[in-house]
């Protein structure tokens, strides 16, 4: 019984570690998007959701309700369009 419990706890710990790593990556990415929108002079308190449309192409929802289309155009410029 204790052996099964040990295995179960090991699985749980691994799962938690996986989830925390993913959460950290997501947090870093939303922070990146928030900074990008701010650099373009658009208001966005904090990015709370980012839906990926394609490579370097996202629809972003901010905490204050603003929504933006953030993408890289063919000229290599980051474009932030308000939706």
């Amino acid at each position: 019984m204790s052996q099964r419990l040990t295995a179960l706890l090991t699985f749980a710990a691994a799962g938690l570690g996986c989830a925390s790593a993913r959460a950290a990556d997501d947090a870093a990415f939303t922070k990146d998007l928030t900074a990008t929108i701010a650099l373009q002079g658009q208001p966005c308190s904090k990015v709370i959701d980012a839906k990926r449309n394609g490579d370097s192409d996202y629809n972003v929802t901010c905490q204050d309700g603003n929504r933006y289309h953030v993408f890289v155009d063919p000229n290599g410029r980051v474009v932030v369009k308000k939706l």
């Binding site: 691994a14 990415f29 922070k31 980051v78």
Partner: protein, 258 residues
């Protein structure tokens, strides 16, 4: 015939696991070894890439902006000014053109010129802004002055900091304090500012030097605000190099070498 075995307290009773169980039982693996193995496999499965992270493929495959300067020569210190002041910006576009697969890997380290691989120890020393306020002072002249001064006759330190732009550039490329999109956005703005400086030096730009200074300061503040919390040493190094970079930007001859 029933097979009897002595119970192994430290081993797993895995008779219900079929062939794997029998293998484990024959091997008499302790439970901690089994658990560790499972955890290792599970953790390996967790090695993932950021779900939302932008791939480097599009930035790598896109054509370089027309305003992007050509790679600076390795020996020209002023020539690195554009890449450093503009800072980070060159990182995304310099990414390798390959990798068509859209991986969500963080920005790959671009191919950096040989001069840009200076060790971090060559970072620009932090000095007060007043000491670095001499515009147009290059690292070469500072180094020459420091070398020419006799050791016994120069008890005071050099007043002008050495501007190691290549080191600053490399540190900006490598820093994790700024994300991919942010670095690319900064690069766009740096290129725009350099275009305005270029037009100013050709007498064609609408901007005055005062306006250019304001834009330069604003861009620098943006970079510093992004760095000050996550990479304070780099922010301090850039801040201390502010006037030296400005001196390069405003000197037509030095700017031409960028």
């Amino acid at each position: 015939m029933r097979q009897t075995r002595a119970p192994l307290p430290s081993c797993v009773s895995v008779s219900s696991l079929g062939s794997w169980g029998s293998m484990i039982e024959r091997a008499r693996l302790p439970v901690w070894a089994l658990s560790a193995g499972i955890a290792l496999v599970t953790s390996a499965g967790c090695v993932h890439e950021p779900v939302g992270a932008p791939s480097s493929a599009p930035t790598a495959s896109r054509p370089a902006p027309a305003t992007a300067p050509a790679p600076a020569p390795a020996s020209a210190s002023p020539a690195r000014a554009q890449a450093t002041a503009p800072a980070t910006a060159q990182a995304p576009t310099a990414a390798p053109p390959a990798s068509p697969a859209a991986t969500a890997r963080p920005p790959t380290k671009p191919a950096v010129p040989a001069s840009a691989t200076a060790p971090a120890g060559n970072a620009t020393p932090r000095t007060s802004p007043s000491t670095s306020a001499a515009p147009g002072t290059s690292s070469a002249s500072a180094g020459a002055a420091a070398a020419a001064a006799p050791a016994s006759a120069a008890p005071k330190p050099a007043a002008t900091p050495a501007l190691d732009l290549s080191s600053l550039e490399q540190r900006l490329r490598d820093t994790k304090a700024i994300g991919v999109f942010t670095k690319l956005s900064l690069k766009n703005q740096v290129d725009d500012l350099l275009d305005e400086f270029r037009a100013y030096h050709h007498g064609q730009g609408p901007s005055t030097l005062t306006q250019l200074r304001q834009k330069y300061e604003l861009l620098l503040f943006k970079v510093l605000s992004l760095l000050q919390d996550a990479d304070p040493p780099l922010a301090a190094a850039i801040s201390s190099s502010r006037e030296a970079i400005w001196g390069i930007l405003t000197d037509p001859q030095k700017f031409a070498h960028i």
